[in-house]
Symmetry: C2
Subunit: 313 residues, 2 copies
């Protein structure tokens, strides 16, 4: 019986397990294979001679031992993050400015909580949202009017680096009694006779138009727009049209049965988000920590997120 010591790696695994509810999802989150995690968990269980969770249920159910380790993981990983922030400040000071440009409406849902946390951690950094609507956030970046831009495509560009935030599925929402409500998967052609309700932004910035309808040469029969997500949901519920929204944004309404969600295309319409920084700022501790904070708070609170490879594929 070889007694290998507990490492933070194990705690990161336990936390990922709790957040994703399954071994394979946790593996994706940690950029490991499911097999690697399976081995790691077995070792961890042997180490204490205790089962950590039941695997037969979904989401997996932690045993008392698992719960205890999870509690340890939560406090420990938070402390490590705090210490690493202190070290970063020690290295390059704690003051600075971070002007964030955002191009998507729903982004504010996760941006606000993340900003609150960030302000606690970096009180000396001036954090601002670049106000107004901007068609070209990266332009703001290179022209020096913003320091960090949230974008949905990582287009290779000099002087700009992209850090992946996360990916999520855009679902079609439709009234419960809509004629096509029973269709499990919607294809581009199904939109030809529908009224599409969206945020009032250029089509190039709507993933449904850009990635699905435009390539298929389909134009919706009519268009309507609204600034507010709830307003869009209300319109859909009262059969004024259909809309494509992030799954995590509509989940609460689905649960209340106002509308139903359907997959767009056989594999689903996956949207991606990246943080863009000027290369010169790429190593700026508080900028990187902002990105890390967005990732952490989003993964912890939004359902159904998935990771994005650092490569930015």
């Amino acid at each position: 019986m070889k007694q290998s010591p507990l490492e933070l790696r194990h705690l990161r695994t336990v936390q990922a397990l709790a957040e994703t509810g399954s071994v394979s999802q946790a593996a994706k989150r940690l950029f490991l294979t499911q097999s690697a995690l399976s081995h790691q968990i077995r070792l961890l269980e042997e180490m204490y001679g205790l089962a950590l969770f039941e695997r037969k249920t979904v989401p997996l159910k932690f045993s008392p031992a698992g719960e205890r380790l999870l509690a340890l993981a939560r406090t420990m990983l938070a402390q490590v993050a705090a210490a690493e922030r202190d070290l970063a400040r020690l290295r390059q000071g704690d003051a600075g400015e971070l002007r964030v440009a955002v191009e998507c409406h729903t982004c504010f849902d996760w941006l606000m909580p993340a900003m609150d946390i960030f302000r606690l951690h970096w009180p000396a950094v001036e954090l601002d949202i670049v106000s107004g609507f901007h068609a070209d956030p990266v332009g703001l970046l290179v022209s020096g009017r913003a320091d960090l831009a949230v974008v949905s495509e990582a287009e290779e560009q000099d002087e700009v680096v992209y850090l992946p935030l996360f990916a999520y599925e855009m679902v079609l929402i439709v009234a419960r009694d809509h004629p096509l409500a029973g269709k499990r998967v919607w294809e581009a052609a199904d939109f030809a006779d529908e009224t599409l309700i969206s945020y009032p932004v250029p089509d190039a910035m709507l993933d449904l138009m850009r990635k699905v309808l435009k390539p298929a040469g389909v134009t919706p029969a009519a268009r309507r727009s609204s600034e507010l997500t709830v307003a869009i949901i209300q319109l859909v519920a009262s059969r004024r049209g259909v809309a494509a929204l992030p799954f995590w944004a509509v989940k609460p309404y689905l649960e209340r049965g106002y509308v139903v969600a359907r997959r767009i295309g056989e594999k689903g319409l996956i949207s991606e988000l990246y943080a863009a920084l000027r290369s010169a700022d790429a190593e700026l501790a508080y900028a990187r920590d902002f990105v890390a904070t967005v990732r952490e708070t989003s993964f912890a609170t939004l359902p159904g997120l998935s990771t994005l490879d650092p490569a930015g594929s």
Copy 2:
């Protein structure tokens, strides 16, 4: 720049560094080579782009970054220990009895603080010291009158397992104006004309007699004894004789200049301590934790301790 994550291993290193004050001592404490630690520290420093301590001074001096990591290490390792105790309780319950038999007088110096901590951690375990003096603590163990015995030799025996506690140097103490006070190292022959002051126990249990004088066939000119360490020091200071005591027990008196300490034999007289358990109790969580607690509190508070190989060589 490869970004390897922080692991508990690194924190254990930082703590050992703080407790021992040097890289090579810390390596011994962790059962690693000095080289391994040197590599590990370099990686840790590269990871945060900060120096952790100045090496040119003894004991080494932590930088602010090093201090921050040390603070992290202290809280984290304590939390891990607490969680692991909880897991052990989850596995085999938290109640039991632990009767400790001790054969050495000075042992009480480190035993009491360790027992206080242990009682906090295992309130449901009845912890007792087997009262009175016992010439054969292991006998008490096998006859069931004690559950854990502190001994100075790990003699291979059926049904008994030995867990190493620590090793320390026994030094000769002598008055400042004693004729031989200038001698850097005392050999067995030097004791022939001296009065030896010791605790009132059989010679077989005095390391000086057992390991040095007896093998050399030397008998001190006279003997005196006392139960109390301070009393022995007083006798030595007033030139009534010489005594051999653990370095950590006399260090405070040395600093006040009452007496001086000298090495016994060219390589020093090293005493070892082991905890003996019945094999049946070897996996008992609270018994193992008692041993761990003794080790931790002793290394943290007594100067000049060294580790003892698990083998028990």
